[in-house]
């Protein structure tokens, strides 16, 4: 590396400076890296490790079920094992691996140097790692959650008093926060960090899929976080959200869980299809057939997948109309899925296929997934689901979908991208062994489950009687599971075996057409030497002298004159360059932030609230330091020549800035969680004769109206502050913020006074409890808003925010738009609805 660097130095000083700016830290400081290649790789390795852990749990279950009335595991051990298997596979593998692969590859596919918020990715990764180890570790102490990955109350609220459920709720909420962070990063990445010229019709299909999936995460995860919040409040403070005896209802949890849970399936599945959409054209040697059709399929699936959640609740005694509506949507979602498959087949038919292990896994995945898709259509037919629901038929179905639709494509992806990441190739021979073992093992294991289910074997049983006559089927399943596991071992060996003697793979080893294959071998930390102008969907195939031009720095940002890490920001639709974005480099702040954030969740699990509070304060402090030192740097000059005669601003604010988009997207997710809580309020109204209860007087209308008035004024004050800052009227700016802060305090206090002055005891009935939750949610947001106002004042005082460079106050104003909306809805609901309902 050093020798090479010296030669680069002499030949091309611009390249040397660029290399210097993007150099990966060495030694123990390696772990401070925030660049997408490092963080992405760690993320991939960590998720795969959790996958192996989940796989071992699966084998334990298969051993237990190999013969009837086995006593390999006790009932409670088995329940911990299956709960952890589901939770680990879903929360610690399936979602993180897609984010990991995207963080690793998306910037390369877009010819970007990095994602727009590298430290956010790193923070997300460390949160994920800490949370994952915490949740997984619990099983070694015998305190793992045992409520199933779906955690249905009241079993988990009243009948499992151990720490397991709290570990699940808080540990996984923590990880969900990390997932949402990654979603924000990926959405902004796809929308704003494309190379110049890459209009919407030229985006790699992977990026389309990831955009859809990230938006889905944004709307699917918050309802679960809201549900987690309600359940944790019931467990630790006895607020009766799911307790039927005090007006609560366990069904609310099921709605919130499955509004998350069904999109989740597609959140897991679409990124894997996205990988296939990159692999298939390469091996067909032809562009993807039906680009527009695939966009249709991705967007259509994204929408329809939110209309399926009740099909997990077909047997809860709902009216036939509701069941029919969700059954119909569940059928409709099969249409876009079918279209994608036919686009793949059509591409293979048009092109001249080169055979490889990647393609084997692709085909194996498709063949398997189609079985799962067809059984999926079957269980979407409500009457059949009345029989199949909660039986091993479903276990078979879902594994066909997830292993066929997710695992096989991911393995194909590993074979495909391994050379791009490590510079070495995996063995085709070992790959074929692994493939056949996995394919055969998988089918032997899971196909019989369809029968054992219909023969009457329910899910989640730790034992079964010999007279049920599913002993043989289960034994076959167990044998298959071990063959599948052996296949994985072969694959794992292929990935991990030492390859130092193996020659480096040639650059663009598969002769692919998309930008990620610009990567040099061995890879350079800068990603691409210069950020290209893209004119086709497969520039490496279609644009002449493309690689050469990129390598010789003939496109944008070929150097780093100021020694800073820089990448291009382009406009959302036409991908015209609008900013030269400076991104931050290595730091330990993200580690501290992750550890302290983790502390809040982990310490709360054990009810050490004081310690958790201290940890929370430290987390906020760390994040503030991180924001203070790492964002909205005032540049030494307004504009910069990025090459080819284009001059771009270095600092922008408002809707052109990536930070504004991040705030906007985060707040959309935040609003979704809030709306889920509001949904809870109205859900209780629909199921109860008397809601709000006649004997309840609170929270009245005076305090809520006062609060709404105060918050409206804060909102105006913040907007005024933004304006004063722009006009460089310092004293007016500070004055507006002082008013804003004072009014925020008033507003937050007035919000709390509503229920507080009406003796609304949240443990007595669900009505006061849900009112309190809405009020506290809003108040907390107001408190965060106060911190933001103080931050802006401090930034201006410190000279880090000026009339021209005003991103901080602009983003805070955006935040306050949402807080105003939140307060408005809260007040309308808690004060207005009781008047209407009576």
């Amino acid at each position: 590396m050093t020798a090479e660097a010296t030669t680069t130095d002499e030949r091309d000083p611009a390249a040397a400076r660029l290399l210097d700016a993007w150099r990966t830290p060495t030694g123990w400081r390696y772990w401070t890296a925030v660049n997408n290649s490092e963080v992405g790789l760690w993320y991939v390795v960590a998720s795969f490790t959790f996958f192996l852990f989940g796989g071992i749990l699966a084998l334990l279950m298969r051993i237990q079920l190999a013969v009837p009335e086995n006593d390999f595991l006790t009932a409670d051990q088995y329940h911990q094992v299956f709960t952890m298997h589901g939770s680990v596979m879903m929360f610690l593998f399936a979602v993180p691996i897609l984010e990991a692969i995207s963080i690793l590859l998306l910037p390369e596919m877009l010819g970007a140097r990095d994602l727009p918020f590298p430290r956010l990715s790193a923070y997300g990764f460390w949160c994920f790692l800490i949370g994952g180890i915490f949740v997984c570790g619990s099983i070694f102490f015998g305190v793992a959650p045992e409520g199933g990955w779906f955690m249905y109350p009241p079993m988990t609220t009243e009948y499992q008093t151990g720490v397991g459920v709290d570990i699940w709720l808080l540990g996984l909420s923590f990880i969900e926060v990390a997932s949402i962070a990654a979603a924000v990063e990926l959405i902004v990445g796809v929308l704003k960090c494309r190379p110049p010229g890459m209009r919407l019709n030229l985006i790699p299909l992977y990026a389309w899929y990831i955009l859809v999936v990230a938006v889905m995460i944004l709307f699917a995860f918050p309802p679960l976080i809201a549900g987690d919040l309600l359940m944790e409040l019931e467990r630790s403070l006895d607020w009766p959200f799911f307790d039927a005896s005090r007006g609560g209802d366990p069904m609310l949890w099921q709605h919130l869980f499955w509004i998350f849970g069904h999109p989740e399936v597609y959140i897991v599945f679409l990124p894997s299809v996205a990988l296939l959409a990159m692999i298939v054209p390469t091996f067909a040697r032809a562009p993807m057939v039906g680009y527009g059709w695939i966009v249709l399929a991705a967007v259509g699936t994204g929408f329809l997948s939110f209309g399926l959640w009740v099909h997990h609740m077909f047997t809860t005694g709902l009216p036939a109309i509701s069941i029919g509506i969700f059954s119909a949507a569940s059928q409709a979602v099969a249409i876009p899925t079918g279209i994608q498959l036919f686009c793949f087949i059509a591409t293979l038919l048009v092109g001249r296929v080169t055979k490889s292990v990647c393609l084997l896994f692709t085909l194996g995945g498709l063949a398997t997934f189609i079985v799962g898709g067809l059984t999926g259509v079957m269980v979407a037919v409500a009457p059949f689901d009345y029989q199949a629901h909660d039986t091993y038929f479903i276990v078979g179905h879902l594994h066909y979908v997830l292993i066929g639709g997710t695992i096989f494509p991911i393995v194909a992806g590993v074979y495909y991208y391994y050379p791009a990441v490590t510079g070495k190739q995996l063995s085709e021979r070992l790959g074929r062994y692994a493939f056949w073992m996995m394919l055969i093992g998988f089918n032997v294991s899971f196909f019989p489950m369809h029968f054992s289910g219909l023969l009457g074997m329910p899910r989640r049983v730790y034992t079964y009687q010999p007279e049920l006559e599913v002993g043989t089927l289960n034994l076959i399943s167990t044998i298959g599971a071990f063959v599948l596991a052996a296949g994985f071992l072969v694959f794992l060996w292929d990935v991990l075996r030492p390859k130092s003697k193996q020659p480096l793979a040639p650059r663009n080893v598969w002769n692919a057409g998309t930008l990620e294959w610009l990567a040099e071998v061995p890879d350079k930390p800068w990603g691409v030497r210069s950020i290209p102008i893209v004119e086709t969907r497969y520039p490496l195939w279609d644009q002449e002298q493309f690689v050469q031009d990129v390598d010789e720095g003939r496109f944008f940002l070929p150097g780093a004159d100021e020694g800073k890490r820089e990448t291009l920001v382009t406009s959302v639709v036409d991908a015209e360059p609008i900013q030269c974005l400076r991104v931050p480099g290595p730091t330990f702040l993200t580690h501290f932030a992750a550890v302290f954030t983790g502390g809040v969740f982990i310490l709360s699990t054990f009810h050490w609230y004081v310690a958790a509070g201290i940890s929370g304060v430290l987390a906020v402090a760390t994040i503030l330091v991180w924001l203070w030192t790492g964002t909205a740097w005032i540049p030494e000059k307004h504009e910069k020549d990025v090459g080819r005669g284009v001059t771009l601003p270095i600092y922008v604010s408002g809707s052109r800035a990536v930070g504004w988009w991040a705030m906007f997207i985060t707040m959309l997710g935040d609003m979704t969680a809030f709306i889920s809580l509001v949904f809870g309020y109205f859900f209780y109204w629909t199921i109860q004769e008397d809601f709000p209860p006649q004997d309840s007087t609170g929270p009245g209308w005076i305090w809520p109206i006062a609060a709404l008035l105060a918050i409206t004024l804060v909102w105006s004050a913040v907007m005024a502050a933004r304006q004063f800052n722009r006009q460089n009227r310092g004293s007016m700016f500070y004055g507006a913020l002082v008013c804003g802060i004072a009014l925020s305090l008033t507003g937050g206090w007035a919000l709390l006074m509503g229920p507080a002055t009406h003796a609304m005891d949240p443990t007595s009935h669900v009505y006061p409890a849900i009112v309190w939750v809405l009020v506290i949610w809003t108040t907390l947001h107001v408190v965060v808003g106060i911190v933001m106002q103080l931050y802006c004042a401090a930034r201006r005082m410190a000279g880090k925010m000026t009339a021209r460079y005003d991103a901080d106050i602009v983003n805070v104003t955006l935040y306050w738009h949402f807080i105003f909306l939140t307060t408005l809805i809260t007040c309308l609901v808690i004060a207005g609805f009781p008047m209407v309902a009576r």
């Binding site: 079993m155 048009v350 909660d390 899910r459």
Partner: protein
């Protein structure tokens, strides 16, 4: 008279003995047939595309995407949807108002079963349901603690039992025989052992059974059984169990008034015979983990014999 062995029962959804289950099996067979054809075509096409490489006309593939990807699935799914939706109203229609009604209450991890007699009395039993053949019957399902799901695979679909709600299920058995029901919703430690026996019988037999069930427990006549009844009271069993006609009125555990008439023990965990009953009393948690009932290991042999003798004459 020894109760029947536990193993000649059907628990298979593919061996239907009720109207709902039969309809669903037909639906299933149609869907499997269609599914196999679709799978063969799609996978055949993909294999063909690899084995016979190259250069098919783009126009052909366009037709393939539009036809195979969009039009055909839409048509197939629409027909399937109509077929399935047409089934729903009948499956959900409540039975005629004079149909027998059975209340079943899910308790961790057993079933409290209540029948109404013609004279309006409520008869309670546990873990066993008997139904007259060729009559619609309505189940009113509730739960005392967590969510359970009531499922008799051979007779029809399942419905969850949810605390705070009453859900309903209509079944229409068409064949005399013995069936097995299970809890299908994970409900904690002994979820796997929360089962029940279902017997479908001709109406006259059913009436005889019901009138026997509605009678109070018979007085023990043999010496050991009398002593067993005494012990049953002294050891506090009545705090949890009811035996009608005695002062045992507990509501925590299953009603034992006609225990000996049931075919199994511990919510269909073991066949109801002397050996298993003894074992249940002394090693409860070995048979079924998590059960609320304490194991009476401190009883000596003769005490156990006496209690078992008492319980075994409760026909």
């Amino acid at each position: 008279m020894r109760p029947e062995l536990i193993d000649d029962v059907s628990q298979s959804a593919l061996d239907p003995a009720g109207v709902g289950a039969t309809q669903i099996v037909d639906l299933f067979h149609w869907m499997v047939g269609g599914g196999v054809v679709i799978w063969l075509i799609v996978v055949g096409l993909s294999v063909y595309s690899i084995v016979v490489p190259g250069g098919h006309r783009p126009r052909l593939t366009k037709t393939l995407v539009i036809g195979g990807g969009a039009v055909v699935p839409t048509v197939v799914l629409s027909s399937l949807l109509c077929y399935a939706l047409a089934m729903l109203p009948e499956l959900h229609r409540p039975p005629p108002s004079d149909s027998p009604t059975v209340k079943v209450n899910g308790v961790r991890w057993w079933w409290r079963v209540q029948y109404q007699t013609d004279d309006g009395r409520t008869i309670e039993t546990a873990n066993e349901i008997r139904l007259p053949v060729d009559e619609a019957v309505e189940f009113k399902l509730t739960s005392e603690d967590v969510i359970h799901s009531f499922w008799i695979p051979s007779l029809g679909g399942k419905v969850d039992m949810i605390p705070g709600r009453e859900t309903r299920l209509k079944l229409y058995p068409t064949r005399v025989g013995k069936f097995r029901g299970v809890c299908a919703e994970y409900c904690g430690t002994a979820h796997a052992q929360m089962r029940f026996d279902v017997t479908v019988m001709p109406r006259p037999e059913f009436n005889r059974w019901l009138s026997n069930q509605s009678s109070d427990a018979r007085e023990p006549s043999q010496q050991s059984a009398i002593r067993g009844g005494e012990l049953f009271r002294r050891k506090g069993c009545g705090a949890c169990h009811t035996i009608r006609g005695t002062d045992a009125r507990g509501r925590v555990g299953p009603d034992l008034t006609h225990l000996a008439s049931r075919s199994s023990l511990g919510a269909a965990t073991k066949p109801n015979n002397t050996e298993n009953l003894r074992h249940w009393i002394t090693h409860t948690h070995h048979v079924k983990p998590g059960v609320t009932m304490p194991a009476f290991q401190a009883l000596d042999e003769r005490e156990v014999d006496a209690i078992v003798a008492y319980l075994e004459q409760l026909h």
